[in-house]
Symmetry: C2
Subunit: 278 residues, 2 copies
């Protein structure tokens, strides 16, 4: 296969989940910028800690693009991860995304509450929630990037588990909705190439990391690009062939390894791997 052009540093974004335990939002903006990375994905918990006014000022001072605002647990009940997040909370999160000029809100929806085993009903409820939310996304010009999440997290975290599902939702939602393609969640999908093609310009974020062949746990055990089994360059080609020209956002949540290293080393490794194996 013909090699793609090596990725340019100007296309690299770092998702602050990659340095979650090490750095606050202020430290991440400073640290990424010092390493030559000029785009970041921001999490609500970190933004709350910093405060919106200070975050805006710093992002502006450092010339940092906000690739996405990453939100979990949309429409979660009180007994679900991130919950409770009813519709008005979801709208407020969109407002936060707008306040820091995020290009989109990565939207990880919730799943079964503790009273239910009806996954189809949960999916209908989520679709209704998104229908109610999308007008606000349109109004404030922060599109929802619906993220399909790995099927191993269907029971606990999120009931949208394939890119096909996310694409079908986008068809229903129309303007204001797109998808987030996260390698970790979708790399195994036998329909991946067709669904990426079908997503086309609805791809709002492309998140990169790797799947380790030594994986044993289902949470926060992601690999650095090049350390696992995902054909990252191959899937980047699919995404770019579908028309995506945005950032590659490195999201490596890694309890066993990278979260325990100095953040400067993590960032340097993200850059090196981005330029050599992606």
């Amino acid at each position: 296969m013909e090699r793609l052009d090596p990725p340019r540093l100007s296309r690299l974004s770092i998702n602050q989940a990659t340095t979650r335990p090490q750095w606050s939002l202020r430290e991440a903006i400073e640290g990424y910028s010092a390493a030559g990375v000029n785009a970041i994905s921001v999490w609500p918990e970190k933004l709350a800690e910093c405060g919106i006014a200070d975050a805006r000022r710093m992002l502006n001072d450092y010339g940092m693009t906000v690739t996405s605002y990453c939100v979990g647990g949309l429409f979660a009940g009180a007994d679900q991860p991130f919950g409770p997040r009813p519709l008005d909370t979801c709208r407020r999160l969109l407002d936060e995304a707008a306040a820091i000029d995020a290009a989109c809100m990565v939207s990880v929806v919730s799943t079964l509450d503790s009273q239910s085993k009806d996954l189809a009903e949960s999916r209908r409820r989520i679709a209704e929630g998104l229908q109610a939310l999308v007008p606000h996304a349109r109004a404030i010009r922060v599109p929802l990037a619906i993220e399909p999440v790995h099927p191993m997290l269907a029971g606990e975290l999120c009931c949208i588990n394939t890119l096909g599902q996310a694409n079908a939702l986008c068809d229903e939602l129309g303007d204001g909705a797109g998808v987030a393609v996260d390698l970790y969640h979708v790399w195994w999908d036998p329909d991946l190439e067709a669904e990426i093609q079908s997503a086309g310009d609805r791809i709002l974020v492309f998140q990169i990391c790797d799947w380790l062949s030594t994986t044993t746990t289902i949470r926060n055990d992601r690999g650095m690009m090049g350390d696992g089994v995902i054909d990252i360059a191959g899937i980047r080609r699919m995404v770019e062939d579908a028309g995506y020209q945005g950032y590659c956002d490195v999201e490596v949540m890694s309890e066993r390894d990278w979260w325990g290293r100095p953040a400067e080393e993590v960032v340097a490794t993200c850059i090196e791997r981005f330029q050599t194996v992606c």
Copy 2:
């Protein structure tokens, strides 16, 4: 929803993986039979330990139906789980299934070898392997029950990860091939009902267990029916609506719980749960 008839004990099979650390094949035949269960799924390692002649004799003496012979790592290279299992080894495993009158061979294929990140190529290689194997399955009248395995095991264990894929393979393979529907692997699938309908009379085995909301590890952490989030009765209805009239085969590999309990208690619990929550 209208309640299905409660399952009859005569429809219950126990997969010997459920009592893997506790019981040999001899002990499992005796123990399941003593509890009133007259069907079993057998694993190669356990059959080898017992020997085919003795196994045949015991299965016959106890009037035990062999629901399936459960084989992993079909076409695996030497560096893959269960490997090496080249074509001639796969044929020999089919002969073993025939020797104990197994109704089918549950076929868990292999995936990426350590040199490759090309999942599409692995899938093509597996399809070729199955094409080469299916004439022998036809000749000795032991159909392959192709088992889609949860996407969290795509990197390490098996590259057929959806029922849709398994159905498409069956279309290509024709006579001698069907599918194994294992709740643990497929419950999350947004296309599940349609794919079960499409599988129809190609469903050769229906394996039951549960997905625990407290799951953290990707291997051997299955739940007993009723302890997790799967709508077991709902999916049993789908399978029966598609025409399946065979056994429900309980397969609970559980390092944290059931593998540490007395096998008699495990078997009694399988029966009780089968009759109350399935």
